[in-house]
Every structure is written in structure tokens, then in C-alpha cells.
């Protein structure tokens, strides 16, 4: 027997693998990770290490519990748990207690990902779910006690004059509660993350942008989607604040919007798979984020992504590409309209034909009867003596015929024998002509 492989077509494949994509995401996250560590020091490093490690360990332990052998676990390991753990660490405050990243990583991997069937089967983004879990379970440590960034370390490098460091509240929270005037930081500070408190990975927008550009170049994500999300949020913020364009940049540059838009919402598993579906998904994300930010005065990006993740199956079911050769929506409606037109035309024609038939029948029966009466009358006239005065009799009969014709018009299909009976022998053709004319007018 020959030693060759047998497979189903195609026998050649593209080079891209799931592992490769995940590696790209990790590389794209590196700038933000490094900047987070620079800004927030060892505490941030600890949080990131704890969350990543516990995510990986949870996955391995879960797989062991499923009686998979170690070799298989190693082969199946596709770096997704590292991405989840790293992202989870990046969306945590650097000042959290040590057990918070561990517990939320365990929750994210064990409950949100593995319980639903592992990679590709989770219905919500595990990292986001982990953060929301921590947000609810350890509220005190998550939203208060923000750590001020150690900008002395980077100030000489960046050469930016920094405003006073707001410690305790994120600038976004301040802006949402107290308006634009309460904003103490410039847009550049917001962009670079200097003097900004917040989660480890979300402060330096420049680093996140570099990561995003890398992902776009590697064709892991489409540049359109994060842009749609960010711009929509900005526009809605402007719209909700009485068209004050000053809100545009601060609202897109603060909070976790960049991190959410570039790395969280674009997660393959929990975003729609078609272009149109994605556009709708990201537009809705942007709109809901801006509206909820305005209403609740807290950072809602993670909650909004969680919410939208849940309706992705709905989008995937109803928004599908049009099959090549299938009629488009416009064509379909056109076809429907044309069919309706044709149908109504046919109906009209049928009606017309039917009415014409009845008219013909009327004419036929009338003329037949008249011919008979003419024959009878002539016979009678021939037989009897000519004493009758024709003019007076005629006038009487015209009146009666007209009345009778009106009656027939009221019920078009009624037999017209009665009418015909009253028409005189002298002027048959004229009378019937007026009768049919009147009918046609009515119809």
C-alpha cells in the first residue's frame, strides 16, 4: 500500500491558523501592556501576570477534569486563554486586591468559556464577562481607589507638560457628572494617557492605536468596525450635549472606548460574521454606549459590549449575504409590484370581458326578441285592418322603455327580456343602442 495522504478537497490551504491570529492579537496588545506597566508600576505587572496565569491554569485544569490527556491539551492549546487573561488584566484597576484578577479569570475561563464548550462556543466575550463579574462582586476595589499613574518616569521621555493628576475619579466620570468645564486634562493628555487614572490598558490610546493598526495590517480585523464604533460614540455624545462639538474628542478619548472598540468588540466569536451585520452591530454599540454614558454617568463600554454580544446570534440569523444570482431586495419588490400590477390588469380584463359578454348577450337576446316581434307584428298588421294611429302609440312606448332601461342598469346582469318586450316594432335598433350606451357610461 502506498504511503500517501488522502483528504477531502481542497488539498491546499491558506497559511492562517487560529493560533496565528491569537498570536497577532497578543502582539497587538503588547504596546498597551508595556505602557500600562510603565504608568502603574509593579502593581500593574502583578495584576496582568495573575490574570493571565490563572486563565491558562484554569483552562488546563478544566481540560484535565474532562479526562483529556496532556499531549492533547498541549496540541489543543490555541493561545485564546492567554488573550482572555491579558485582556482581563488590562481592563482592571492596578490597585485591585490580589484575589480579584485570579477569581475573575477563573470565572471568565471556567464559566463563560469552557462551560459553553470551549473556544468558539462562548456566547459572550470571556474577558468582558470576567470584568463585569469583578465589578459586581468586588465593587469597592474596582471603582474606587484608582491609582495615579507614575508619570515622572515617562515625562522626560514624552516631554509633555501635564496637568494636575486627578486621583480618585476617572476624567470621564468627572466630565459626565460635572460637564466639560470640569475636564482638567487636555485632549493630548487623554490620548497619551499622561496624568490619567483608569484601568491598566485603557489609558494610553496611542499604544492601543498602534496595536489596532498592526491588527489591520495583518488583516485580523477590518479597520471600518472600530472606527464606526468610536465615531458613532463621539457623534452621539455631541448630539446628546446640544451639539457641543467640544465633547467629541474627550468622549472618544476617555474611558475604555479604544480598548473596547479595537480588541473587545472585534472578537470573532462574539461579533457577527457578515459585513452588514458587523456594521449594524458596531453602530448600535456606539449609539448605546453614548446614550448609557450620558444616562448613568459611569463607564459602560464593557456592559454595552456584553449586551450586544447577546444579540449577535439574532444578527447572524437574519442578516445574511444575498446568494449570487438571487434577486436583490429592490428587484424582489419590483417583481412583486409587477406581479401585482399584472394580476390587477388581468382581473380588470376579465371583468371587462365578462361585462362585454353580458352586454353582447343583452344585445343578442333583445335583437332576437325584436326580430320575433317584428315578424309577429307585421303578420298581425297584414292580417288586421290598418286603423291604428302610429304617432300617439309611439310616444307612450318611448317613455316606458326608458324607465325599463333604468331598471336594467341598476342590476346589470338581470335578464332584459322585460325591457325588450316593451320596445315597439317601429324603432327597435335605436332603443337598444341607447340602452347599451347608458350601461357603458355607468361602468
Amino acid at each position: 500500500m502506498e504511503k500517501v495522504f488522502v483528504s477531502d478537497s481542497p488539498h491546499i490551504r491558506g497559511k492562517r491558523t487560529t493560533k496565528g491570529i491569537m498570536l497577532d492579537v497578543i502582539i497587538a496588545l503588547l504596546p498597551a501592556t508595556i505602557m500600562g506597566c510603565v504608568f502603574f508600576g509593579w502593581k500593574a505587572v502583578m495584576v496582568l501576570c495573575l490574570s493571565t496565569l490563572s486563565a491558562v491554569v484554569t483552562e488546563v485544569v478544566y481540560s484535565l477534569c474532562l479526562r483529556k490527556n496532556i499531549k492533547q491539551i498541549f496540541l489543543d492549546f490555541d493561545l485564546t486563554s492567554i488573550v482572555t487573561g491579558l485582556l482581563l488584566g488590562l481592563i482592571m484597576s492596578p490597585n485591585v486586591k490580589w484575589y480579584v484578577p485570579i477569581l475573575s479569570a477563573v470565572f471568565a475561563i471556567a464559566v463563560v468559556k469552557m462551560l459553553f464548550g470551549g473556544t468558539g462556543k462562548n456566547i459572550v466575550n470571556p474577558a468582558i464577562a470576567g470584568r463585569v463579574f469583578a465589578f459586581i462582586a468586588f465593587q469597592a476595589t474596582m471603582i474606587s481607589g484608582w491609582l495615579a499613574p507614575n508619570i515622572d518616569a515617562v515625562l522626560p521621555l514624552l516631554n509633555v507638560g501635564s496637568a494636575s493628576i486627578t486621583s480618585g475619579a476617572t476624567p470621564l466620570g468627572g466630565m459626565l457628572t460635572n460637564g466639560l468645564s470640569a475636564m482638567q486634562l487636555s485632549n493630548l493628555d487623554l490620548f497619551l494617557g499622561t496624568g490619567l487614572v483608569g484601568c491598566i490598558g485603557e489609558t494610553c490610546k496611542l499604544a492601543l492605536l498602534i496595536g489596532g493598526v498592526y491588527l489591520v495590517i495583518r488583516k485580523v480585523i477590518d479597520w471600518k468596525y472600530p472606527v464606526i464604533y468610536i465615531v458613532t460614540t463621539g457623534l452621539f455624545a455631541v448630539f446628546l450635549n446640544k451639539m457641543n462639538w467640544g465633547y467629541f474628542l474627550p468622549s472618544i478619548l476617555s474611558g475604555g472606548l479604544f480598548l473596547g472598540a479595537i480588541f473587545m468588540a472585534t472578537d470573532y466569536v462574539t461579533s457577527p460574521s457578515t459585513t452588514l451585520g458587523n456594521v449594524i452591530y458596531f453602530l448600535l454599540l456606539g449609539a448605546i454606549t453614548a446614550v448609557l454614558r450620558n444616562a448613568t454617568h459611569i463607564e459602560v463600554v464593557s456592559f454595552v459590549i456584553l449586551l450586544m454580544n447577546i444579540i449577535v446570534p439574532l444578527i447572524n440569523t437574519y442578516i445574511r449575504p444575498r446568494i449570487f444570482g438571487a434577486p436583490s431586495f429592490v428587484e424582489k419588490t419590483k417583481l412583486k409590484l409587477e406581479n401585482a400590477k399584472l394580476a390587477s390588469k388581468e382581473k380588470k380584463e376579465k371583468k371587462l370581458a365578462a361585462s362585454l359578454e353580458t352586454k353582447q348577450a343583452v344585445v343578442n337576446s333583445t335583437s332576437e326578441y325584436l326580430q320575433q316581434t317584428v315578424a309577429q307584428n307585421t303578420a298581425a298588421i297584414e292580417k288586421e285592418s290598418k286603423i291604428v294611429t302610429p304617432s300617439a302609440q309611439n310616444a307612450d312606448k318611448i317613455v316606458t322603455t326608458q324607465v325599463a332601461t333604468n331598471n336594467t342598469n341598476a342590476n346589470a346582469n338581470a335578464p332584459t327580456d322585460d325591457t325588450a318586450k316593451k320596445i315597439t316594432a317601429e324603432k327597435p335598433a335605436e332603443k337598444t343602442a341607447t340602452a347599451t350606451d347608458k350601461k357603458e357610461d355607468k361602468q
Binding site: 500500500m1 502506498e2 504511503k3 500517501v4 495522504f5 488522502v6 483528504s7 477531502d8 478537497s9 481542497p10 488539498h11 491546499i12 490551504r13 491558506g14 492562517r16 491558523t17 487560529t18 496565528g20 491570529i21 489543543d76 490555541d78 464548550g117 470551549g118 473556544t119 468558539g120 462556543k121 470573532y268 466569536v269 462574539t270 461579533s271 457577527p272 460574521s273 457578515t274 459585513t275 447572524n316 440569523t317 445574511r320 449575504p321 444575498r322 446568494i323 449570487f324 444570482g325 438571487a326 434577486p327
Partner: protein
């Protein structure tokens, strides 16, 4: 006539076509081995009925299998010699069919078909049917049936796209036998009683484009290199802008598509009175030391062909009959050339896809690549669940042309085409 640019569809996949391996090698006539085994099921439809018996002496070009229905085709002997056996043998897809084994006497005594009285359309169609010509692009649908469409047609499209990687036999035919191919195309147009002839050629074959431009009655359509440009529906769209509606035939939009090799076969049958008993075939791949374009007689054993092209056994991973995207892998070499075989490939381990499927991550790459704009991941999802009806409703599986673009781009290396063929078979069973 001036060339025109074909419409581009932003789907499908783009890859290295690897045509440089055999592109510049002229067609070589390969003599048949000592004995050939000619299958009676070389086409779509009913197998032909054997009309010779063991011990009969046959000539090259003699009828040995008679067409047994409307969708069926005649089979002719490719060598002269003696019939030694009629037995059932498997083809490369594992289907058993009767093969007529003929011992080659090495003389190739040729017995032509009777010469044609005239060249009226009906006569040409009759000759095409008589000569056993089927679509040589791969489907193997009897050409005579295609030449008598039920609806009025106004355009003949010749498929010179050859979008499968490695394969170059149609390209070689186009540049070596240009006049013959063009005459064949004209005969096809005459049979269909139409004047508009379009020849679609991908832009990676500039030599062929330059040669075909010279003819006044033929319009060359330059197609952008993209897989699957040679798919019937997409070729029609690129050349004419017409879209074949779902579930309809090309003739419903007034088009008939024929292959370059088919046109050449029609020329031979009409002008040279030669039935179809040989075809060009590309032998290529990284593990073939001397890639060749061969004129192979039907019934030639694959191992004989590989021997002539000196196979490199080191790191040999896969033997493929047809192209790497839609062809089928061979479990051995003991199979016999048929009308529909356009290539024999030997690929090494670095080229072929040998990874195990991993879970779908819903990236949507397959939906973006699908030239029919279906949702392969949805089809796969419902097929795995055994819900065939939903696979058709939400994924549109019955419109699939099985080009393999989705599986090519899949990062999770899922066996999408396998799911699709399974689902299609189950849905057909239901009907």
C-alpha cells in the same frame, strides 16, 4: 477583435498559481502502455454499454461502449489490439465501473468515423454526440446535450480561465493549437446558430490573450486572476454581466459555456473524423522531477504516467487527480485515465494541508471568500448538528459550487466541503 476587461467579483481567493512548473513545456504525445483499461463511465449520467466481447480485435477509434441514454456518451478504443477482459474496477473516487481491457499491439491502426455529408448545425451536433465528446473541464457533461438548449441562446463563452493551480494543459492547447481551437469554437457557434463568441482568459496567460486577439470573430475577455474564475456562473458574470439565477442553467440567461479542450475535441471530430479517445493532461507538482503536458490515451494507467515523468518519492505526501482545489486524492496509482482528468499532481508535505480541524471561531472568513455568497460556517454548524433543512435555509447549501474557497481560507482548518457535500447528499436523499 479588441479585447475587453472582464467584470471582477470581489470574492473567491487569491493564491500562487504554481503554473510556472509546466507552463513552458510543449505538449508531448505519450504512447499507451502494453495494455489499457478504458472505463465505460467516463462522464456524468448512465455508463455506456459495452459493444465488444473478450477476444475481439479492435482498432484505434473503434466504438467499444455505446451511449445508453440521453445523458450518456460513446466510448472509443484508444489503441488497436485485442480485448482481453471486461471487468469491474474502481475509479479514483472509489466507484466501481466496467473497464474494457485492451492489449496494445503498438500499431495504432486508426479507424476514422465516416466523413460528414455537410456542416449544418444539426449534423455538427450529431457528430459531437457520435464522437462521444463530453465537457473536458472536469464535469463530464455530454456536450451534445449542452449544444441543444431548450431556451434561446445568444452568446457562446469559451472557458480559458483555467483557474486551478498547477494545471496548464488548456493553456498549452491555446498557444500550440490556436487555429484548431478557434475552428472548433466556430463549429460550436455554428451548431448553436449564434454569432457572439467570447473567450475568457485569465490575465496570467498573456501569450494566449495575444494569440486570440487576432481573430476578428472572437472577442477575448481578459479576466483578473482569481479563484474560482473558471466556475460557469462566475465566468458568465465576468464576461457578460449576467447573473445566472439560483437553480437555473446558463442557457436561461442566453449563454452556453464550453471548455478550450472541448472545442479542440469538436474540431478533431468534425474536421478529422476522429472520435474522443485522448486528451491533454498536465503532470506537475513539487514532487514531479520533469513536469509535462501530455497527450494521453484514455485507459493509460496513472503509475505508467508518473513513471514517465519520474516521480520524486522523497517527502511525497499526496497524489491528486485534477486540480488541488477540486480534484480528488488518489489512494494508489492503479487507476486509469478518463475523459474528465485534466491533471495529475504529486505534492510534498510542505504544500498540502494536513492539519486537524479545530473549533470554528466564527471569524467569517469563509463567508467573505464564498463566491456564491453563502454562509459556510452556518452550513457546517447545522450539518454537525444533523439539521439538514436549516443548513439550506440559513446557509444556502444547495447553491454551493464546491469550489473549496471557504475551506482554503478557514483558519480553524475545518472540513467545510466535506460538511457541504454530506449535507447536499442528505437533502437530495430526502427529495
Amino acid at each position: 477583435m479588441e479585447t475587453k476587461k472582464g467584470k471582477f467579483f470581489n470574492r473567491g481567493v487569491h493564491f500562487d498559481d504554481k503554473k510556472y512548473l509546466a507552463k513552458d513545456i510543449p505538449i508531448e504525445i505519450l504512447d499507451a502502455p502494453e495494455s489499457v483499461a478504458i472505463s465505460l463511465a467516463q462522464h456524468i449520467g448512465k455508463p455506456a454499454d459495452a459493444v465488444v466481447a473478450v477476444g475481439d480485435k479492435v482498432l484505434q477509434g473503434q466504438l467499444i461502449g455505446k451511449s445508453s441514454g440521453f445523458v450518456s456518451a460513446n466510448v472509443f478504443s484508444s489503441v488497436s489490439g485485442e480485448v482481453t477482459a471486461i471487468e469491474k474496477k474502481p475509479n479514483q473516487r472509489g466507484q466501481l465501473s466496467a473497464h474494457i481491457v485492451i492489449k496494445n499491439d503498438g500499431l495504432y491502426t486508426f479507424s476514422p468515423l465516416p466523413s460528414m455529408p455537410d456542416k449544418q448545425p444539426a449534423t455538427i451536433i450529431a457528430r459531437v454526440q457520435e464522437a462521444g465528446i463530453v465537457g473536458l473541464g472536469g464535469a463530464g457533461f455530454p456536450t451534445a446535450v449542452k449544444l441543444s438548449p431548450k431556451t434561446a441562446v445568444d452568446t457562446l463563452i469559451i472557458n480559458g480561465a483555467e483557474c486551478e493551480p498547477y494545471l496548464t494543459c488548456d493553456f498549452r492547447l491555446m498557444i500550440e493549437k490556436t487555429n484548431e481551437v478557434v475552428q472548433g469554437i466556430r463549429l460550436l457557434a455554428k451548431a448553436l446558430k449564434l454569432n457572439t463568441i467570447l473567450v475568457g482568459i485569465e490575465d496570467n496567460k498573456p501569450e494566449a490573450i495575444a494569440l486570440f486577439e487576432k481573430f476578428d470573430d472572437i472577442q477575448v475577455v481578459v479576466l483578473k486572476k482569481r479563484y474560482p474564475m473558471g466556475s460557469e456562473k462566475h465566468l458568465i458574470y465576468s464576461c457578460t454581466g449576467r447573473k445566472v439565477p439560483c437553480g437555473k442553467l446558463p442557457s436561461d440567461v442566453g449563454c452556453v459555456v464550453q471548455n478550450i479542450a472541448t472545442a479542440f475535441a469538436v474540431f478533431e471530430a468534425v474536421e478529422l473524423n476522429k472520435p474522443l479517445f485522448e486528451r491533454t493532461l498536465t503532470v506537475s507538482g513539487e514532487n514531479v522531477k520533469t513536469p509535462k503536458n501530455l497527450l494521453v490515451k484514455f485507459g493509460t494507467n496513472f503509475s505508467y504516467i508518473f513513471e514517465k515523468c519520474s516521480l520524486d518519492e522523497k517527502d511525497l505526501a499526496m497524489l491528486i487527480c485534477g486540480g488541488p482545489m477540486m480534484g480528488s486524492t488518489l489512494i494508489g496509482r492503479d487507476f486509469y485515465t478518463k475523459k474528465t482528468d485534466s491533471g495529475l499532481l504529486a505534492l510534498n508535505k510542505s504544500t498540502v494541508a494536513l492539519s486537524n480541524p479545530t473549533p470554528c471561531i466564527n471569524c467569517g472568513a469563509c463567508a467573505k471568500a464564498c463566491p456564491m455568497q453563502l454562509m459556510p460556517m452556518t452550513i457546517d454548524f447545522y450539518t454537525q448538528a444533523g439539521d439538514w433543512a436549516s443548513a439550506d435555509k440559513f446557509g444556502g447549501v444547495m447553491n454551493c459550487i464546491e469550489c473549496g474557497s471557504c475551506a482554503f481560507v478557514c483558519p480553524a482548518k475545518r472540513a467545510l466541503i466535506q460538511s457541504i457535500t454530506l449535507c447536499k447528499a442528505k437533502l437530495r436523499e430526502k427529495k
